[in-house]
Amino acid sequence: MYSEKVMEHFSNPKNVGEIEDADGVGEVGNPTCGDMMNIYIKVKDGKLSDVKFKTFGCGAAIATSSMITELAKGKTIEEALEITRDDVAQSLDGLPPVKMHCSNLAADGLHAAIEDYKKKQGTD
């Protein structure tokens, strides 16, 4: 059902954990629905110097979380905001159709973390 790429990220997720002094935190999803993601970012010179996640959810939720941290790390804020749900799914060689909607929250989580960062900077 899942691609090899998804299984790889699911079984060995990258960048798991919290960033204690994060510059931005994005919280998306809801445990009642079965998927919840927190994305933490650290920003340095306009770039995402560190990205981490904590996720409660299915294999797809964990894999997309792991993937987004890899996609976003080192990118500028503007570049990171352009990463879409589809980009995440494509980087994972696709997701099962039923998972495209509910578990593919990682891009939203990243964007929410950036919004949070901007708000804190007062640049919104």
Binding site: F10, T32, C33, G34, M36, K54, G57, C58, I62, V98
Partner: protein, 387 residues
């Protein structure tokens, strides 16, 4: 890597004796049981023997066994067969909220056809209160259908008591015994039921074959129209290899019932004790004692079941979950919802169903694996308390 099957509630491995018994009915004795020549008579003889063997397992008479394409069809035949025949006598059916979809969706279908259905609730351990059935019966009630052993949480219902209530009011009683047959003693006279559903693939038989016990004198409308097969209750040239497989599985289940039950009970109780003892915030779902001997159903706070299932699968262990994320509908299990378990905990549920081939070493392996997996997932979970 180990490959350990602990999902016997989903299906079971066909016993090698079952497969051997079936093969001649593909390779040599391929006749149509309705044919008068010797090929046909071989098939007809096999059919008669099979009917006797299946009847023996549940204490029935052979002519009370109707072969079907499985548990789903048996459930459909029981409900619709009675409803369509008795629609002028009454239009009310009573069932429960925790039935298998084969019952629930048939009931929905009957509701669309103008029947009324009452779904009696369960308590937080999954038990039905027979008094709730009694209260639901009206002069319009034609059938009560309550499952024997639940396929998710394994709770065993007080069928005998419920049958008595139904019969005292002149109402027919059906039970879906797909999960209990072969696990505990099931006798149609003890349970006092008019109809009882059986599926071969849950008792180490082949898929796509089952039976409906229909008590002598109970009439029902056939759903599959055609020739006069199965006493006019289910048309179609009989699936002789499948039926022979079901019968062999039934024979073996009868012979091994006591040994199998005591074996899986030991595994079940050890697994429950060990898991609850070694993983914090883990809970047993269902009833502590009124449960199928092979059923372990647990939930773990802060983790999601599909992830649990997949990580166990990577360690070679096959189990199942009630998490919405693993269901085609993306709905959390209706059974766990009926117990009043909050959705985020339903997502963290896990079902282990043992079979006669599992061992205590495998239990230890699965417990050890689970401890590590739950720990890993909780370390990743934003809702788990920090240590």
């Amino acid at each position: 890597m180990a490959k350990i099957y602990m999902d016997n509630g989903a299906t079971t491995k066909p016993d090698s004796e079952v497969v051997s018994a079936m093969l001649p009915y593909y390779n040599e004795h391929f006749g149509n049981a309705s044919s008068l020549h010797s090929f046909g008579q071989e098939a007809a003889d096999a059919l008669d023997r099979a009917r006797q063997q299946v009847a023996n397992l549940v204490g029935a008479q052979p002519e009370e066994i109707i072969f079907t394409s499985g548990g789903t069809e048996s459930d459909n035949l029981a409900l619709k067969g009675i409803a369509y025949l008795k629609k002028n006598a009454g239009k009310h059916i009573i069932t429960s909220v925790i039935e298998h979809p084969a019952i629930l969706n048939t009931c929905k279908n009957l509701q669309d056809d103008g029947f009324r259905v009452t779904y009696v609730p369960v308590d937080d351990q999954g038990l039905i209160d027979p008094a709730a059935v009694e209260d639901a019966i009206t002069d319009d009630t034609i059938l009560v259908s309550i499952m024997h052993g639940n396929n998710e949480i394994g709770t065993i219902q007080p069928i005998k008591e419920i049958s008595k209530i139904a019969h005292d009011r002149g109402v027919l009683m059906h039970t879906d015994a797909v999960q209990s047959v072969g696990k505990i003693a099931v006798n149609v006279n003890d349970l006092d039921v008019d109809m009882l559903s059986i599926s071969a693939h849950k008792i180490h038989g082949p898929k796509g074959v089952g039976a409906l016990y229909v008590r002598k004198g109970t009439r029902l409308e056939s759903l599959v129209k055609g020739g006069g097969h199965e006493f006019g209750k289910r048309a179609g040239t009989e699936n002789i290899p499948g039926i022979v497989g079901l019968a062999k599985a039934a024979e073996l289940a009868g012979q091994r019932l006591d040994d199998d039950a005591s074996h899986v009970t030991k595994l079940r109780d050890a697994a429950i004790t060990k898991i609850l003892g070694s993983i914090s915030e883990s809970y047993l779902n269902g009833h502590p004692t009124q449960r199928l001997p092979n059923n372990v159903h647990l939930r773990f706070s802060y983790v999601e079941g599909e992830s649990l299932l997949m990580l166990l699968d990577m360690k070679g262990v096959a189990v199942s979950t009630g998490s919405a994320c693993s269901s085609k509908s993306l709905e959390p299990s209706h059974v766990l919802t009926a117990l009043g378990i909050p959705p985020e905990q339903i997502h963290g549920s896990l079902r282990i169903t043992f079979g006669r081939e599992n061992t205590m070493d495998e239990v230890d392996y699965v417990v050890e694996s689970l401890v590590g997996i739950v720990e890993k997932l909780r370390a990743m979970s934003p809702i788990a308390p920090k240590h």
